[in-house]
Structure formats: structure tokens, C-alpha cells
Amino acid sequence: MGSVLQNLKEQTKVKLRENLNQKYITRLLNIIVSKPVVLAYANTFSSKSDKYLNVFSLKQIKNAYSSHSPTAYGSLFLPYELFYSLGILPFLPEVIAGYSAGLGLADKTLKKASSNWYSQDLCTFHRSASGAVELDLFPKPTFIICTSLACDAAQKSFYLYAKNYGIEDNFYLLDVPYSHTPESVSYLSKQIKNLSMDICKKLGKKLDINKFKEAIELSNEFREWAIKVNDLRKTLVNYPLNYNGLNFILPFHGLAGSKDGVTLYKEMYKEFSRCLKKQKAENSGTKKTHKRILWLHLKPYYKNEIFQTLEEENCKVVFEEINYVYWDKLDPDRPFYSMAQKMLSHYLRGGLENRIDAILNMAKDYKIDGAILLSHWGCRQSNGGARIIKDSLNQYNIPALVLDTDCVDQNNSSKGQIKTRIQGFIEILNSK
């Protein structure tokens, strides 16, 4: 039965590639997230949290495609509590670009972007999403919200999306200052408040502060569980099957402030606790037989051998930078202030020293043997600091590999060279 369902899954991917249009995507999403299909596939998920991860992520995408509620595109690093407070459905084009690479659709979207003069130097997450917008593959948004935090390409790309849909008046940029000062908190809080009031006005409704309170409370709960999960990971070695922390980019951003986010992380905590208990009982985690890797930045979303190679060489990614809880508990009574604080607390804001401090904390907490920094084509905010990050880790006798590749465009990546670099790096770790 499992192989039949797996075949069906593969056939669906092929059909999607053949019938790539918004109507087909919507129909497909409605089928995939329907109860009978989720039930049929229930046994194919490796764990309950794996099921939640897939179903919640797909549900969020499906809702954006087929719901009558207003949809808002959002860039990474936004406080998604804002979306749940305002009752607008989040749709994250950068994440969807990653998913589409996994489905083998990036060639088409990148080609479209290229034929429409998008520079080859532009990050492929944005380039692929731009191609998808041009091909009319994404749901039409009512609002587009992005931030200047970390990523320099998002604000420009997202504005182009707004222009493409003719909704420039509904484009919002949350400008995050370089420094974290009381003045910058106030400046950003005002922007979030004004944006919220403006969106409510456009939707013809009153700003409901209780909705904000509710989302902030859920976000705090989400944060608590995420911290607990991260704490367990300091000693956990034997994860549930197929677990890859790098798959959590959508929930970690897009589900903060939602009930689904809490449910997912709570379940993960339960599962990881069971795994740790079993590990302790078997004594399997006490004798270290593997190399502990910290993964920095993102992963390639298309089919690749990176994680299989790491596994074969007895290396475990014990933590990923993207899952680092960097913000303090939010104040439900001061939602705008709290969201501003959350954004300004991000380790990618300001100078590189913030990110280095966070990475060194992770290195210490997770007792890593080495770090791999994936240097994604066109991602200047991350790549620009690669050498300094590597040197900072080296100072603590932690080897670091800067892996130049592309997360979305597999034509920008050489399988053999990537494998050699990873194996060479592991050989260095093993010789220490």
C-alpha cells in the first residue's frame, strides 16, 4: 500500500509539471489537504509531527489559493502574528519557491524570470517566485507585506509582485533600523500599528486588539515549545525517521501566532521526549560515535545527496541556525511594541557581530564538531559574512565549510563537487 501511495505521489508531481497552472494547483491542493487523502496517507508519515508539518504547511498554502479570505504575501523575517491578528492569510513566496524546486518546477519559473529580464545575480528564491508571479501560478494577493530586515532583494521583488498585480497601494514595507534602540522600537512599532490600521480600514473592519492579544499569546506558547524542542536537541541523537530541521522554515516563520504552530511544536516536544527517553534507556546517546554539525543558512530544496552523504559519513546535523529562538517573550498587552521587539531582536539585523554571537552560542550549546555554511547564490546578506563567520568558528577550533551552491536552481550546483567538498570536510573533522 505504501509503495502504491508513493507511486501516486510521484505521478502527481509529474502531472503537476505537465499541467502547471493556477487552476490545477488549486484543485490539487484541495484534494491533497482533504480529509480522505490525509487519512489515506496517514501511515506514510514517519511521525505525527511529520504529518502536522506537511498538513499544516499545505493547508496554509491551500487556504491562500482557495479561501475567500484576503491573502497577503509575506516575506521571511516578518512577525506572522500580525497576519493572524488581522485575519489575513499568509502566503510566503520565498518558501513556496523552495517547495517548487522540490517539485521540479523551478526550471520553468526561473526560465520565465530570465526571459523577463530578472538578473541572473538575483537570489533564486526571489527569481523563481518572480517567474511564478509572471506565470500567474500564485494566488492573487490582496496585500503584500515585506521587510527590509536581513534580505535586500525581498523589498524590491515584493514591490514588483505588487506592481504585477496592480496593487501598489496595498504594498507595505516594514523598515527595520540597523540598531536596536528605544527609538528604533518606537519607529518600527508605529509602522506596524499604521500598517494594521490601514489594512483594517481597507478591509472595512475595526482593528480588534483582542485578536492581536490572542495571536501574541499563541506566539508565546509556540516560542515556549520551540525552546523546549531546541533544549531536547542538545542531547538528542536518535530523531524520528526523516526528521530534518531545515524543513521547518515555513512553520518557524509562518505559523508563529497560530494554533497550528503550537500544535506542531507541542507534538514535536512529545515525540522528541520519547526519543530521548528511549535513547537514555538504550544508552545509545552516551557514547559519541558521530560528528556533530551545525547547519548555517538554508538547504537546497531540489533532490540532492548532501544529507545522505552526511549520514553515510556518520555526521549528524544537531542544530540549524534557522530554528534558533532569538526573541524574548512578547507582551500581549503591547502587541505592536512586542512585534517590533521581535523583529529588532533578530540576529540578522545590524552588524555581522549579532549573527556571529548567535552562531557561537549555538556552537557552544550544541557542542558541535564543525559547521557547514551553505552559501546560497545571490544571498548577499549571508554570503557577505561567510569568511568572517568561518574565521570566528576557527578561533574556537571549530572547522567550518562554506558550501557554495544554490538552494533553488540545481543548474547552479555540481553534485560531484558538492560531494567532494563535504567528504573532504568530514575527513578533516575525522582527523581531529
Binding site: P399, S413, G416, Q417, T420, R421, G424, E427, I428, S431
Partner: protein
């Protein structure tokens, strides 16, 4: 007791048989890889065994390296060319701190500490900065690659080759020839072009002496001299630089036997 290292590169395959008794090379073979790397490696191994007068079964362990390393079923282990080149170079020059390897398909710089690699950098996904780049340019110039070193030494002036891409650089050369530019000046410019790329990689890893150069391009003294000039260091060259990776693999195979 014999061990063997096989370095399967994109252009050539090298086999080294090492005698553990005296840690001396019993025999080595350099052969073209061709379209079937497995067959090329098998044939080179047979030839290397014949040269020593031993049977393949007399070899206690085989380590494969290079891009074709995973496709050698008769190897006991495969190890990357980073570790193998480092080990091979250190066996020849024990106090090394930096290894520059320029092969047919890629170039790499390896930083060493106490004889072991601690960091490395490999070239990007294109042929610029590799032996293949020089081969293609030699073809465009209709000059035997072996003469590049002599030409480099004798020629004072150079023309700058601005194209990074091998295909565009080839067109640039054809255009320069068309404009009546002396071929010798183009050769000198080509060598500096490859050396500039390698120099930047060396600087990124951090240059520390002593430095050795391995790989087929190390046979081209023009490249070596230009690198020495740009890096302001003296570079050590093995007697047969092309077999360094296979030699290192043979040494690493001793640990398996």
C-alpha cells in the same frame, strides 16, 4: 607488502603501487581516463602490477580518489583528493603548510597543520583555472602545451586575457590572433590569467610556507614561475607532480592493510 592508490580524474587516471617495506614507489602509471573511468582504472592497475611483476592479489589495500573514486568497485575505500593530495605531498615534503593542486578539471588549495589538512578551497564550477583551460587555449593557438613554459620564460610582454569562461577566452584568443598579436604574448597572458585565479584562492585560504604544487599543471614551469612571482614564494614541485594524489591514496591505504 604493497598498497595501491588510484586517482581517477576527468582527464587522466594515475595508479601508484607503494612498497611498505621501504615506503618507495614500486611502480606508477599515468593513463588517459577516456569515457570509461572504471575500465581505465582497471587497465592502469594491471599495467602498474605488470611493471612490478606482482599479481593484483599481492596488493593488500587499494584506495581510490579523484572524481571517479566512487566508481571503482575493486577499491577498498574511497577518500577525497583533498586528503590524498595532502598526504602525497607531505610524504615528499614533510614540513609543508600549503598545497596547490591544479588538475585537469579542478584546482584546489589545501592548508596543512602538522601534515594534515585543516582547510581547503576548490575552484568554482567552470574550467577556468584548470589544466583543461590551458589545453583548450593551446589548441586555439596551435601551440603544443609543452612549449608554453619556454615561451613564458622567453617572452617579456603579455596581453591581458579578460574572459574567465574557457569558451569566451578561446574566442578572445582567436580575435587577438586576428588582430596580429604575437602568439607568445598571448601565451604569457594566458598563464597569468590562470595564475591570478589560483593566487586569489591561495590568499583566501591563507598562504603559509612551505608551499608545494601538485597535479599535471605543475609540470608547466611557466605556471609555476608565474605563481612564485605572484605569491612571492618558492614552490616545491614533486619529480612527478601528476601522481601525488595516487601516491597519497597509496599511503592512506597502508592504514587499511
Amino acid at each position: 607488502m604493497y598498497t595501491c592508490g588510484i586517482d581517477v580524474g576527468s582527464v587522466s587516471t594515475e595508479v601508484v603501487i607503494l612498497n611498505k617495506k621501504d615506503n618507495k614507489i614500486a611502480s606508477y602509471i599515468i593513463a588517459a581516463t577516456g569515457s570509461n573511468s572504471k575500465e581505465a582504472a582497471k587497465k592502469a592497475l594491471e599495467d602498474a602490477c605488470k611493471k612490478v611483476g606482482i599479481a593484483e592479489s599481492d596488493i593488500k589495500a587499494i584506495v581510490a580518489t579523484g572524481y571517479g573514486r566512487i566508481n571503482i568497485p575493486f577499491a577498498d575505500k574511497n577518500i577525497t583528493e583533498i586528503s590524498c593530495h595532502a598526504r602525497g605531498a607531505v610524504s615528499l615534503f614533510p614540513d609543508l603548510k600549503t598545497v596547490i593542486d591544479i588538475g585537469g578539471q579542478d584546482s584546489k588549495v589545501i592548508k596543512l597543520e602538522n601534515g594534515s589538512p585543516i582547510d581547503f578551497l576548490m575552484n568554482d564550477k567552470c574550467a577556468a583555472g584548470t589544466g583543461r583551460f590551458l589545453e583548450v587555449m593551446a589548441g586555439a593557438l596551435e601551440i603544443n602545451l609543452e612549449h608554453f613554459a619556454d615561451i613564458f620564460m622567453k617572452t617579456k610582454e603579455k596581453v591581458d586575457i579578460t574572459s574567465t569562461c574557457t569558451v569566451f577566452a578561446e574566442s578572445e584568443i582567436v580575435s587577438l590572433i586576428g588582430h596580429g598579436i604575437e602568439k607568445n604574448k598571448i601565451v604569457k597572458g594566458l598563464i597569468y590569467s590562470i595564475v591570478n585565479r589560483i593566487t586569489s584562492m591561495v590568499e583566501r585560504v591563507g598562504l603559509e610556507e612551505p608551499v608545494a604544487m601538485t597535479g599535471g599543471v605543475a609540470k608547466n614551469l611557466g605556471v609555476v614561475r608565474a605563481l612564485e612571482e605572484k605569491l612571492a614564494v618558492k614552490i616545491k614541485i614533486p619529480d612527478e607532480p601528476q601522481i601525488t594524489g595516487a601516491l597519497g591514496a597509496a599511503y592512506l591505504a597502508q592504514k587499511l592493510s
